[in-house]
Every structure is written in C-alpha cells, then in structure tokens.
C-alpha cells in the first residue's frame, strides 16, 4: 500500500521493540505465547499507525496500544493460561551481577508479579518503566489518585505473596 508509511513504521518499531517484548514478558509465560502476543501487538500498532501524528513520542504511544492489546484485545490460547513457575524462574537472563540472595529474591519477585491480574500487571509494568502516576492514570483511564491507591494495594499484595 503505502511503502513509505510501512518503512517508517517498521523502522520505528524495530528501534523500540523492547517495549513490546517487555509487555510480552509480563503477560505471557512461554516463548510461544510471547511471540503470539508480540505479533498481535505489532498488528494493532500498525493498524493504529496512520493516525499517529507524531505529537506524542512514538514510544509513549506504543505503551498504550501494547498494553491495550495485552489487557483487552489479546485472546489467550489455552496453553498459556496455566502459569508456569519454571518460566518465571527463567525470566531473568543476566544474573552474574547479583549474589545468590538477591538473585533468589528477584526470582521470587518475578514469580509474584506473574500471579497478579491483568490490570495489576499493567500498573507494575508502568511503574517499572518509570512512568508517572499521571501517565499510568491516563493509560488505564482512571484518576491519578486511584492510580496511586491501586499501586499501593498492588505493593501490599506483592508483599503478601512473598511473605505468606
């Protein structure tokens, strides 16, 4: 169709693909569903791209479409519904910077995040990505105050999962 549009989109996405991979990591537990979700997010981004005016940063715009796809549009295949703790353990790839204790704690943290529901995962994801509460609120469509309240609840929930 429009070759120029295709080219600018693919180049942009290629440069910013980490954001999509990170969303996939939070929402899926095996590489097959990771790829499925990545594929679906790419299609949704591409469908929305003609309306992307460039008034926002490409990456900011990506967060919204990617999370919406993960929370709202993506149909999980049956295989990916069961949570595999082993995959959570393999979540991190680079480990050499940490001593065993920290390493262990991180593994548990990732496993705990996997147990959260879709909305809570979105909150944690945006928090980990250093987004402001204003941005978190805008992305989810809730008020800033409620975003803060919910984030605190998620922290408490994570603590409970870690120290039952």
């Amino acid at each position: 169709m429009d070759k120029e549009l295709e080219h600018s989109f693919v180049t942009n996405l290629e440069q910013n693909q980490n954001i999509v991979h990170k969303v996939c990591r939070i929402y899926t537990s095996d590489s097959e569903s990771h790829n499925d979700l990545f594929q679906e997010i790419t299609i949704q981004l591409w469908k929305a791209y003609p309306k992307f005016r460039g008034d926002a940063k490409f990456s900011t715009w990506m967060y919204r479409v990617a999370l919406n796809t993960a929370i709202t549009l993506y149909r999980k295949s049956k295989r990916s519904i069961k949570t595999t703790d082993l995959d959570a353990m393999n979540f991190r790839i680079k480990a050499e910077d940490y001593d065993d204790e920290v390493e262990q704690q991180l593994k548990l943290m990732y496993a705990a995040v996997k147990q959260l529901n879709d909305i809570e995962k979105a909150l944690v994801f945006l928090y980990l990505e250093d987004k402001s509460y204003k941005e978190i609120a805008d992305t989810l469509g809730i008020s800033e105050v409620n975003a803060r309240v919910k984030m605190n609840r998620v922290k408490t929930k994570l603590k409970k999962i870690l120290n039952p």
């Binding site: 693909q17 990545f38 949704q44 479409v65 709202t72 149909r75």
Partner: protein
Amino acid sequence: MDELELLKKDWKKQDTAMPRLSYNEIYKMILKKSSSMVKWIFIISLLEFSLWVLLDIFLRVNGYTEQEQVDELLSGGFIVGLSLVYYAVIVFFVVRFYLNYKKIQTTDSAKVLMENIFRTRKTVKYYVWFNIGFFALTFMSFTIYLAAFTDHYQKQADLGQASTTIIIVSSIILGLIFIGFIALFYRVIYGIITRRLKRNYNELEKLEV
C-alpha cells in the same frame, strides 16, 4: 517497598537481554491477520445478524401452515408493513453496530476502549433480544389468533386424541422452551467471549468507586 525497587533496577538491565527482531521479521508481521477479541466479536456479531435474517427468509420461503393461514386471513398490507418495520429495525441495528465498531480505538485509554467494545456488543445484544421478543410476540399472537378465530387446533384435536386445550398449552410450552434455549445459547456465547474483558473492566471500575 525495597523489593519492588530492586526489581526496577533489574528490570532496566533487561534491555540488553531482550530478544531482537530484524526489520524483515517485523515487516512480515504487519502483513499477517489479527486474531484479536474485537475481530472475533465482529465476526460473531455478523453471524448473529445474518442468522436471524436467514431464519426469517427461510420461514418465508418455506412457509409454515400457520403463516399461510394468517396471511390469508389478514390483509396482505399488514404483513408487508410489518416486514418493512422489521427490516428497518434490522438496518438500524446494523448501522449502529458498524458506527460503534468504528469507534473502537486501541489508542484510547484501557477503560474507554473496553467501554466501546461493550457498547458494540450491547447493540448486538439488543438486536438479539429484539428478535427473541419479536419472535415471541408473533408466536403468541398466531397461537391466540388460531385458537380464537380459526378451527386450526380443533382440526388437530380431531386428528389425534388430545383435547384442544392440551394442544394449545403444549405448543405454548414448546415455543417458550425454544425461546429460552435461544436466550441461554446467546448468554453462553456472549459470556465466553467477554469473560476476561469483563473481569478486567470490573477491576478498573472497582477503583473508581
């Protein structure tokens, strides 16, 4: 919370450990077809729209005895008028469905996006209920008409051993079972496709109270 801060630090280091797709791999992806919820909702909705229209056409073409008798007895104009209203309502539903569907944008906030999806589905829901209601009303009025103004049930009673009342009551019960079955079937389908969406929406909604 220190654990979450620890996670944040680690999270940032992940950038280098992520898989990397090439330009060509990404390019191939944009040529593929979406398999999103919205697409399925769209397909299922279209099936629902066509199902009722096809059912209506099928009944008209094949004609059942009651229909013919009523057609004979009522003036042709009434039936034509009723059909026009019926199809005008269907066109209205299809147009609304399409406009709502168009409103679904992944660039909206999660909440607005979900609301738009629900609105689209709701149009189909009203459409289905309109049909069930229309069907029920037509069925009831035919039964009453046949019982009160024709000897249709009397003839049937003469053929078999059952009394007129039993035939009328059993046909009403059968009609109700049929309607109940359609309603249940619809609820199940609707429930399955929107279960997760509903759960996530409630989660966001819960926050705003």
